[in-house]
């Protein structure tokens, strides 16, 4: 007998078991099941590998062995399903070996590649867990005596160790087959034993202890655990980078481990811990540390999914010796082993890990050393992993595949978080750290381990900072003088609405004023203050100060007198240039010069030495955290470098016109004032205050043919919102942005609105001569945050960690600036200067400025800006130290403590909020006045909140997150549902989460939802709405509003539609619910829960709710219209109708008309509705009655609503919103339409004459009287017995102890629905279309 002939007998494995028995999932399987259910089309849960075999293989024997091993592995032969409540289960199917094709690819040019391509095609096909086989096998012939056995499994049935059990068994079987020997009996154990063991664990005290251990161990876990910021859903693929580690590394690691008293895999954990701490800048690190989970368990013999990934939380303390770190890793990993059976999915739920929030752990460190020689009858097999399952973040897989192979490091990463460069970089860093650990001695300080490989360090310190460029040693006045000499008659200054000046005119006026200034003592190293609004005089004064050799100090005349006085005292200018308007705002006793006076004086020769490149060019004050502003002193050398770089980069020509619109106290104005006039271009002056007015600016740009403008990004967005902005692209050539982060969306809008105009994003603090980095924003740029770019000429940018070490590319650190643009420091503040201007550790003798800004290098050498590391904020581009506002607040006698924060509770709405602990009676207007006395307007908070005490964190620091949101105007109605679908979903969210109310924008996971509850929610939505909602939708759109959009996709989601499908789909006849007087049918949503799913439910709504459609002229006309609409969605009967109040009357008429048309009517339900003749004598409703109808439609009782009578619209709307009703979300025009609809319906009803309905009707009576009769109905007027003359059959009565308005309360509707449901079930099913009858 040959080996292959043994196959059939072997394959016919244990087929006698009952296949359909339901089994619970193990915790491990449940984890995979949920992850797959979130995204059923994701193939990443397919795991696979191939074993490469070189030798005289018997392919038939291998196929036989592989198939038999698969049949023996009981746990592979299952399918999965879920019951209605979202709980999954599995059931057995007959063990089948499945096809195992033998595919010869040896003729291909690259047989291995061809085989791998075929394998990957198979691997990336998503499986259906309810129907598909969970595994596949194939054997590829790569060449003579060269084979690859491929197998693929869904991760829900196997893990890496399980796969190795299978391969090992196949090898055993193969060896027996080819030796013609009887194979040893299988030692695999059945799935049931694993499930039973898992259930026993779940019920054990051990499980409780493990949970307690983990919740304790992970208390206060860090927000950032990954090597990349943020998180992303499980992607469909992963990025893999493979590296062979240096030869001999394993031996070195083993030796080091022996030296350090540990085992080498723990060195890998330590290296990863160091890497993560360097990247996150945080010593608190949480790795994923996969554990086999089989030790001492039956799982050791079950090829199944068992592996768990518990967190390994480490403290990587830079000050400790390596030996201490390794002892810590050893101790922690022992705890992980002890408590490692507790599923990380359960732990995530315990800890409230939500999608998009802080994750449980960062990179996984997966060391797989167990694969000693696997041999198929003497033929060695080498495993090649193709997919190890989903990668949420990044996984370091370290394989040891036999000693002669050495170590292999495969890095798998989620491509949504990591670029291929990032993956390779992390791989190189880990290898670098491993080598460093292998060679380190136990006393080496952890902080001295270098995470940066030498080439990366060189790149970030030198390569990307290689910006040296010769720049002449000159000053701004010299550059202007040279330009004025070149183009004396060119236009220099064009004020909006004033006389333009040529270069020579400006030069002469500035020279004349300079003479006056010199007479006041202006000269190099001295300061001239300028307190002028934007004007020709302002420009002349700045140039004059420079001509006199002095630095200028801009003073904003609008600033509070206190602040101006402080600056004048601090900077001690020789004089202040002012005009009639501004002179009065200056403190008394200052030497003042009138800019206009000087114009009249003849120029006289007043010798004085000019400024040199190292002399100050300007002093600009910025907000200071200690309560007073600080003056930054910038020398000519720095600003000259900045302007010459700018001219080289953007090339202004003689026909360019640059707008000056930035206030002079903001350093962006420096380039506006001086760049155009050293390049022969023209400066256009916007009128004072004009910089805040987008329409004015657009008009100015067009009129003055402006080519170049600066915008703070928030102002750019306002400008782009201005309809006339698009017209400016006729002249505009470039826009420069700086001052705050430039949103990607703004860039996209810019390019759409102003096609062909360049957009540049610049970055820099006042302390480094305006801007130090630049980035050209191109329309074709890939999606992602807008970088701040690369350093300009003669400038170095360093991104350093807290110990001053360069951080890895991609990691966040603090930005430091060095080079020629670094300012001299702060005027009169040597302490502050020493704190922020430090020695450059990379270039001896140079200084660097510590920005307090957070940044990271991109892999292309550009920088991303990521906010502040302190309390400095920017409001509309203005730099504000919160501490400065706080100290002014605290100086008020009625304030005992204060905190100020910048809030952005609604996107784009950034404002300052002050929190005050009073020391007496606090008067907010008085506090405002107090602040306004010393702070500019932009620094006066717009919201004030008084608190008993400021919230603090456990460390005693102000807990900013715990500060309450100030109550501000909330008039946009964003917090109430706006459609019935939203209202239904809000209700379902609340039910599932056990909350009283959920708003349409509340996030499911923020409210305590987790994956199990999400599955329940999806099941409820399916049950109630009859629409298939994949679990993934809950994750993709976790708010009622978002989910409503997804659910309504592909159909008319118009909530005002005539026929509103509350639930479409379903094979049984629909229930049509006719609107009450107000015309909307949303109130019927509460019926859905009890009306069986197979019945669609439609609300029939009035015409004219859009305010345009004509209103019907009679109730007959209305009913005929409804019959047409109803028959359009359901061509044949029986028809089921229901109506509340006026809706009952219309339902009756609709039923009559359907019968007249020969159709069958099943259920006719009249909810507290009374025949029309009983209304005839009642007065028509007024607006207050219409509003009553509105309240009724929302299920609210107008009699008990705390509203003044007669009702007013705004009160009613506020009341609706306060009660979470979608009706409160209606806009004003719809409300007006509703009032019209009510009036019309009231009139039509009074004029209506009933016809007879043949059959029974259900009457639902509300037996409780209302406190105030509705529509002023006299007692006894309304009598249900009046229906007797309009109904041939029986009026069946259902009495409910509630009021008329309460009939549409969800719980009451549910009771009604259950009675209606019974009648629906007795009614005939859909009749065939009439033509077939």
């Amino acid at each position: 007998m040959t080996a292959t002939e043994a196959v059939p007998a072997a394959v016919s494995g244990p087929r006698d078991e009952a296949p359909a028995k339901r089994l619970a999932l193990t915790g491990a399987q449940r984890g995979v099941w949920f992850a797959q259910a979130i995204d059923p089309a994701n193939p990443v849960f397919n795991t696979g590998e191939y074993l490469e075999l070189r030798g005289a293989l018997d392919p038939a024997a291998l196929v036989a062995a592989a198939q038999r091993a698969v049949v023996e592995a009981d746990a592979l032969h299952v399918r999965f399903a879920e019951d209605g409540s979202g709980v999954p289960w599995q059931h057995r199917v007959l063990p089948e070996a499945g096809e195992m094709p033998v595919i010869d690819v040896s003729a291909e040019a690259d047989p291995r590649q061809a085989a791998e391509d075929a394998m990957r095609r198979d691997l990336w096909r998503p499986l259906d867990l309810s129907t598909d086989a969970m595994f596949a096998n194939a054997l590829f012939r790569l060449g003579p005596d060269h084979w690859a056995w491929y197998h693929r499994f869904h991760h829900i049935v196997i893990d890496y160790f399980g796969m190795s059990l299978l391969s090992r068994r196949a090898a055993e079987l193969y060896s027996a087959l080819v030796a013609d020997a009887a194979p040893a009996a299988s030692r695999f154990r059945p799935l049931e034993e694993l499930v039973a063991e898992d259930e026993a664990y779940a019920a054990s005290a051990r499980h409780t202890d493990d949970r307690a251990y983990w919740t304790r161990r992970l208390a206060g876990r860090p927000a950032q655990v990954g090597l990349a910021l943020g998180s992303a859903p499980t992607s469909h693929r992963f990025t893999r980078s493979v590296a062979e580690l240096p030869p001999g590394l394993l031996e070195r690691l083993e030796a080091a481990a022996a030296r350090l008293g540990t085992v080498w895999p723990q060195l890998v954990a330590a290296a990863a811990g160091v890497l993560v701490s360097r990247v996150t800048g945080c010593s608190d690190v949480v790795l994923g540390w996969p554990v086999m989970g089989r030790m001492g368990s039956v799982a050791m013999r079950v090829p199944a999914m068992v592996v768990n990934v518990p967190p390994l939380r480490l403290t990587v303390d830079d000050g400790q010796p390596l030996s201490a770190l390794l002892a810590h890793v050893a101790a922690e990993s022992r705890e992980v082993a002890r408590h490692g059976r507790y599923r990380y999915e359960d732990l995530s739920r315990d800890l409230g890990v939500v999608p998009g929030g802080p994750r449980l752990f960062g990179p996984q460190v997966n060391v797989m050393p167990f694969e000693p020689d696997l041999r198929f009858a003497g033929i060695a097999a080498v495993a090649h992993n193709l997919s190890a399952g989903p990668v949420d973040d990044l996984t370091f897989n370290v394989y040891l595949r036999g000693r002669h192979e050495g170590l292999q490091l495969e890095v798998d990463a989620n491509p949504a978080l990591y670029s291929p460069e990032a993956v390779r970089a992390h791989q190189r860093r880990l290898v670098h750290l491993l080598a460093a650990l292998a060679d380190a001695d136990p006393d080496t300080l952890v902080g001295d381990l270098d995470a940066l490989p030498p080439d990366e360090r060189d790149l970030v310190v030198r390569g990307w900072n290689d910006t040296a460029r010769p720049v002449p040693a000159t000053t701004l006045p010299e550059l202007f003088a040279a330009q004025a000499a070149r183009t004396p008659t060119a236009l220099a200054l064009v004020p909006d609405g004033g006389r333009a000046l040529t270069y020579v005119e400006l030069d002469e006026r500035a020279s004349r004023l300079a003479t006056v200034l010199r007479a006041h003592g202006a000269g190099p190293g001295r300061v001239v203050a300028v307190a002028l609004d934007r004007s020709v005089d302002l420009v002349v004064s700045l140039y004059a100060a420079h001509k006199a050799g002095a630095a200028y100090l801009p003073l904003d005349p609008d600033h509070p007198a206190d602040r101006l006085a402080f600056m004048l005292e601090d900077a001690a200018p020789v004089c202040v240039v002012c005009d009639e308007a501004t002179a009065g705002r200056l403190p008394a006793g200052m030497a003042t010069v009138r800019a206009d006076d000087a114009a009249a004086k003849p120029s006289e020769d007043a010798a004085g030495s000019p400024a040199g490149p190292d002399d100050p060019a300007y002093v600009i004050y910025t907000s200071g955290s200690t309560g007073r502003p600080k003056g930054v002193v910038v020398p000519h050398r720095g600003i000259v470098n900045r302007l010459l770089w700018m001219q080289d980069a953007y090339r202004l020509g003689p026909d360019d016109r640059v707008v000056q619109k930035t206030p002079a106290g903001f350093d962006v104005s420096v380039w506006e004032f001086f760049w155009p006039l050293l390049a022969g271009a023209t400066l256009v002056l916007a009128r004072p205050g004009g910089h805040r007015d987008p329409a004015y600016l657009a008009d100015l740009f067009v009129r003055a043919r402006v080519t170049t403008a600066h915008f703070v990004p928030s102002m750019l967005q306002a400008f782009l919102d201005e309809p006339s902005a698009a017209a400016t692209c006729g002249s505009l050539r470039r826009v420069v942005c700086s001052g705050e982060a430039l949103p990607e969306a703004a860039v996209r809008r810019f390019h759409t609105t102003l096609p062909g105009v360049e957009l540049h994003n610049l970055y820099g603090p006042t302390e480094a001569s305006v801007d130090v980095t630049a980035w050209a924003c191109r329309p074709e740029a890939p999606a992602g945050p807008v970088p701040i770019g690369r350093p300009v000429w003669n400038t170095r940018t360093y991104v350093l960690d807290q110990r001053g070490r360069p951080v890895p590319v991609g990691a966040v650190g603090e930005l430091y600036l060095a080079g020629v643009q670094v300012a001299d420091g702060y005027l009169n503040r040597p302490d502050l200067t020493a704190e922020r201007f430090l020695p450059d550790p990379f270039v001896p003798g140079e200084r660097m400025y510590r920005t307090g800004d957070l940044a990271r290098w991109r892999f292309d050498g550009a920088l991303d800006y990521l906010g502040r590391n302190d309390d400095q904020v920017k409001i509309r581009g203005q730099r504000i130290e919160l501490g400065e506002i706080e100290s002014v607040l605290q100086a008020h006698p009625c304030v005992s403590a204060a905190a100020v924060v910048a809030r952005e509770d609604r996107p784009g709405d950034r404002y300052l909020a002050a929190y005050v602990v009073p020391a007496g009676d606090v008067d907010v207007p008085e506090l405002r006045k107090h602040l306004a006395r010393s702070l500019p307007d932009a620094m006066v908070p717009s919201a004030f909140v008084t608190l008993d005490a400021l919230p603090v964190t456990v460390n005693g620091k102000l807990d900013r997150k715990a500060l309450p949101q100030p109550v501000r105007d909330q008039s946009n109605g964003a917090d109430v549902p706006r459609t019935p679908m939203q209202e239904i979903l809000c209700g379902l969210f609340a039910d599932v989460l056990g909350l009283e109310r959920v708003g349409p924008d509340d996030g499911f996971f923020e409210l305590g939802g987790h994956s199990l509850l999400a599955a329940q929610l999806a099941a409820r939505v399916r049950a109630v709405l009859g629409r298939d909602v994949p679990l993934g939708s809950v994750f993709a759109a976790p708010t009622p509003r978002g989910l409503a959009q997804l659910v309504e996709q592909g159909r008319d989601g118009d909530a005002l539609a005539g026929l509103l499908p509350l639930r479409s789909g379903g094979s049984a006849p629909a229930l049509f619910c006719i609107h009450p007087a107000g015309g909307l049918g949303w109130c019927y949503a509460g019926l859905l829960q009890e009306v069986p799913r197979e019945h669609p439910v439609y609300a029939v709504q009035a015409r004219g709710l859009d305010g345009r459609e004509a209103l019907p002229g009679s109730l007959q006309e209305m009913a005929a219209d409804y019959v047409r609409q109803i028959q359009a969605v359901q061509p044949t009967g029986p028809y089921h109708l229901l109506g509340w109040s006026v809706g009952g009357v219309i339902a009756h008429e609709t039923a009559v008309r359907l019968q007249q048309a020969g159709e069958q009517v099943g259920v006719l339900a009249l909810l507290d509705a009374y025949p029309s003749e009983q209304w005839a004598s009642l007065p028509p409703p007024d607006e207050s009655d219409a509003l009553t109808a509105l309240l009724l439609m929302a299920g609210l009782d107008p009699a008990t609503a705390p509203l003044p009578q007669p009702l007013r619209r705004e009160d009613v709307i506020a009341h609706l919103r306060a009660n979470g009703s979608a009706v409160g979300g209606l806009d004003a025009s719809t409300l007006a339409a509703v009032v019209g609809v009510v009036a019309n319906n009231a009139a039509l009803m009074r004029a209506h004459r009933h016809s007879g309905f043949a059959g029974d009707a259900l009457f639902v009576a509300a037996t409780q009287p209302v406190a105030r009769p509705l529509f002023a109905v006299p007692d006894g007027t309304l009598d249900r017995d009046g229906w007797a003359s309009h109904i041939s059959g029986e009026l069946q009565l259902m009495e409910l102890a509630c009021t008329h308005p309460e009939l549409v309360r969800p719980d009451v509707l549910r009771a009604i629905a259950s009675v209606v449901a019974r009648r629906l079930s007795q009614a005939p099913q859909l009749l065939p279309p009439r033509s077939d009858r």
Binding site: G261, P265, Q266, M292, M295, G296, M300, R334, A337, R338
Partner: protein, 86 residues
């Protein structure tokens, strides 16, 4: 407890020597490990078990990872590591 010598006549593997190896790999004192203690509770994981196995294989013992992992106690291992025939 009896002394055992393996059949190749190399280093004898006594239960207390075995315990000492286990304690060493876990970084705890041998006194903390009882014969029947579940070594998972003592912090044993697959990488440490592999290191142990490696150590013992170098010393000439042939026992499989699966066998050790299935019953992780000193007592069970002493049985497994006992030479055939004893």
């Amino acid at each position: 407890m009896t002394d055992r010598t393996d059949s190749t006549g190399t280093q004898p593997l006594r239960t207390d020597a075995l315990r000492a190896d286990v304690a060493d790999i876990l970084g705890v004192s041998p006194a903390e490990i009882g014969d029947d203690d579940d070594l998972v509770d003592a912090g044993l994981d697959s990488v440490r078990l592999l290191a142990l196995l490696n150590r013992w294989q170098v010393a000439g013992t042939s026992v499989s990872f699966l066998d050790l992992a299935e019953r992780p106690t000193v007592a069970a291992w002493a049985g497994l590591l006992a030479p055939a025939g004893e």
